[in-house]
Amino acid sequence: METTSVDVLVVGGGATGAAAAYDLARRGVRVLLVDQNDLTTGTSGRYHGLLHSGGRYVITDFDTAVECITENMILRRIAPFAIEDTGGLFVATSQDPDDFPARWAAACARAGIAAEALTPEQARALEPALTRDITAVYRVPDASCDSFDLNHGFITAARTYGGDAWIYQRVTGFLTDGDAVVGAELEDTRTGERRRVHAACVLNATGPWAGVVAGLVGLDVKIRLDRGSMVAMNIRWVNTIVNRLRPPSDGDILVPVGTVCVLGTTSIRTEDPADTHVDVSEVSTLLREADVVVPGIRHGRALRAWAGVRPLYEPPAELAQLESGHNVSRRFAVIDHTERDGLRGLVTVVGGKLTTCRLMAEQAVDVVCRQLGVAARCTTADEPLPVPETSPRHYHQLTHRVHRLEHGEMPGALICECEVVTRPQLEARIAAYGDQPVALDDLRRDLRLGMGPCQAGFCGYRAAGILHAAKGLSPGEATRALSAFVGERFRGVRPLLYGHQLRQFYLDELIYRRTLGLDALLALDQPQPEGVSDAGSEA
């Protein structure tokens, strides 16, 4: 069995793990990060897309609010390539409690969140889609953040400081020596190959899986799993983030992300960290709530729905008393298992927000470094991240891709028409994987293939043909690749089978089932192996 040795193994390639790997590398620690999937495919790839100003938590969770505004300013500075400075609005309507805005504004002032009061007219001049029923409205420094770009920024930076990251490597068990963890066992989730990594310390940054992973060495880490759903609307109804100005509850935020406008979220308790299904009732809630601030939006076209699971950390006793996850602290915990469980060499970091990932990483890495006896201090807030190779993808600069295509900088046949992906782009991306296997879904995350209104109805089969040629796939492999891809795309459409998207789905279904006979082709071939990649970077 192949064995590797590092100082620290970071488990989990979400925002927290990636920021931690970068932090460790900057402090001169030899670090390896692993994820069971591609990067940013856990909660970080399924989140709402909002770089919080903290306004949302200022009443219910003041400390988190302060952390958010501080980290918001830091991330804007160090990762501008991942952030679109949309600004945010907090809008109260006559349906909302009328004593709330004043209390809220006062709390913002205390937290250091610049909340500028606007008149309803000013707000509507900024965002004509807003309701006429505005009783109070403030502008705050919210922003929209591409977690995929941010994560790649952290990983690229970690690599420049000598760190590394392996994907599709699942930790299946820990290596122990007496009362110390000394590494982990990995399994390649695509090939089944096993290997070992020896490490002086392991950082468990597996978000909703943190309890499961800690359980691998018999530890009991209680995490409240809270599933939240989101719906992406076909077009950007607003160019500013719009929050309801009321105590946090379901469906109170609209986030413009790239080409779409994401409505979210809900909060439903779950026991399974991989529970990403969406209930039709959640879709109705999200549309109904968004329609209060942006009238008409519920009749618009919804493209896709998905869910993510929040890893909320709270001491168990208090957890039980609370009904809804919206009121559970978004604060995070860094658990030093030496102190708590008498087990050295393992630290768990869990909870928090994507917005506070750098801070969580800093505090977790402080604990790790204490165990290692490393004195270096955190410097991740000091310097901008290098721009990652895959970025800036400019997805939030709406006009970027059309401009390049139209001005001859991106020649070649259009494969994904909705999201403007050309044949040479696809071929270059496939080539970049070398002899690693490539799924169409990987290309989706890299290039946004199949993420437009038709949800791969027209580009899926084209891209499968290109993949087939580039990778020399057998017809059976190509068929399965296509089937896995469109299967996953359609999964996200299923909760939205009404109105516009129903018509689209029916056309797509006719293309794949009736014209291409995809089901029949699959039946001709041997049964499909369990797919591993089901996720990521949804908006």
């Binding site: 004509p128 889609a129 077009i235 160019n239 942006v294 006009t399 028409e417 209104p453 109805g457 516009h500």
Partner: protein
């Protein structure tokens, strides 16, 4: 994508954004029906087609950023895409709004400014008609115009009539004052458009003669260019100024329930639909005017359906090809010219199987687009030649000029045949004097 520059000109009428043109992009299922119907995408690789530049790229346009477009310029705004889309996407309207943004970003070329000011040239050229016409027919001048400003030397050019329709109408009113009608229900407003005013006044004269023959009291209020040439060149501020002027001048008639009819089918489409869906002018007045606006043949057919059209036609023994201009198709009312002319004994019309003649307002005048324009219109020339026809019937002026250029024959407005069948002549025209025994029965209520 969102609230585009043009959409923000919402006035007193409050729309939910979902009702706006840009948001119809939401309905697109990517079926490509529009792409296969677009007459222009068919003949040039420079244009990726309606679906791509329309609903698809609409999602990727940003009202606050410069226009990323380029190939959009090859869309002619003919409107076939909007007509065929089974899902209600206002493709042409989306494209035209995006063109305005293109112009906002890059400015309006001198040539396009020139083409957008048809109305001005019509007026300026009139007193100089012989000279102006000579210049237009002069090869050297045309060559220079192509080189210097980019107006194709092969594009069909109208000739100035040397007098205006409005001038003629003023003299008519002076020489033969018409008695005031008993009620507004007998009134009709005639919208002549710029071409009729300066290049083809005889069409306006025929239209007036027909309306008066039917027994209606014609009013020709002050009016200006419909704004379509400016609009399709992306000059929205210019187009809106024209549109506003017309709306103001026509609103009072519309309020009184008086129909507004015009012989330039494309102008009427602009007033009926584009003011609202392209220029974003959707105040109550604009809507009211739109609701009372009719294409001439549509109006005549409506009269017939109401039993108000005299049918004392002389037979015309001819078989003629008819071309329905795209701007007319865009009304979505079928082929009223064919319906009306079918009432004339002996007259047989057959419809040419072609989407568009290729001129598309000012598109076919542009040097870089002339070849495309001719390729689009070619099926018309072929069918007309095969049939050995010398005269083509067609409702819009630019189409008629294009058809003449393509076929070498003549193209006429349907009013020419209608007037002939009624036995009307406009040389030395005198209005019929029969206020007492009006042919049209007394109207019942408002139109």
């Amino acid at each position: 994508m969102m609230h585009t520059a043009s959409d923000t000109v919402m006035s007193d009428h409050t729309l939910s954004l979902i009702e706006l043109t840009a948001f119809t992009a939401d309905h697109c299922v990517k079926c490509n029906i529009c792409t296969s119907a677009c007459p222009f995408a068919k003949v040039t690789p420079l244009f990726p087609g309606p679906k791509v530049v329309g609903p698809q790229w609409q999602r990727l346009r940003d009202p606050d950023a410069p226009s990323p477009d380029h190939s959009l310029d090859y869309c002619s705004s003919c409107g076939i895409c909007t007509l065929v889309c089974p899902h209600g996407v206002k493709v042409m309207e989306i494209n035209t709004q995006a063109k305005a943004k293109l112009v906002e970003t890059h400015g309006l070329s001198l040539r396009n400014w020139f083409l957008a000011r048809n109305e001005l040239w019509g007026r300026l050229g009139t007193p100089l008609a012989p000279l102006a016409n000579f210049a237009l027919r002069n090869r050297l001048v045309r060559w220079a115009a192509e080189k210097v400003i980019g107006v194709s030397r092969r594009a069909p050019m109208p000739g100035w009539a040397g007098y205006t329709f409005r001038g003629w109408w003023q003299r008519q009113l002076r020489d033969h004052p018409r008695p005031e009608p008993v009620s507004d229900a007998d009134r009709v407003v005639y919208f002549h458009g710029c071409s009729t005013n300066t290049y083809e006044p005889h069409i306006g004269k025929l239209a007036v003669a027909i309306l008066e023959h039917i027994g209606l009291h014609v009013e020709v209020p002050p009016q200006t260019c419909c704004g379509l040439p400016a609009q399709s060149n992306g000059d929205f501020p210019g187009a809106r100024r024209y549109a506003q002027t017309n709306i103001e001048r026509l609103a009072d008639y519309a309020r009184r329930g008086i129909p507004i009819v015009g012989t330039a089918a494309s102008c009427m489409t602009a007033i009926k639909g584009d003011y609202q869906h392209v220029l974003g002018l959707d105040g109550a007045e604009a809507r009211l005017v739109a609701a009372h606006t009719y294409d001439f043949m549509e109006f005549v057919w409506k009269l017939h359906q109401e039993g108000r059209l005299p049918t004392d036609f002389h037979p015309i023994h001819q078989e003629l090809p008819y071309h329905a201009p795209c701007q007319l198709k865009a009304h979505g009312f079928g082929r009223p010219a064919l319906d009306v002319l079918s009432l004339i004994p002996g007259l047989k019309l057959w419809e040419i199987d072609a989407d568009c003649c290729g001129i598309a307002g000012t598109y076919g005048f542009k040097v870089e687009k002339r070849e495309i324009s001719e390729a689009v219109g070619w099926p018309i020339a072929q069918q007309v030649q095969e049939a050995g026809a010398e005269v083509v019937v067609c409702d819009t002026e630019t189409c008629r000029w294009q058809i003449q250029a393509l076929t070498g024959g003549t193209a006429i407005h349907p009013v020419v045949l209608l007037a002939e069948a009624y036995g009307l002549s406009v040389d030395d025209y005198r209005p019929p004097v029969r206020a007492d025994k009006r042919r049209a029965p007394a109207p019942t209520g408002v139109w």
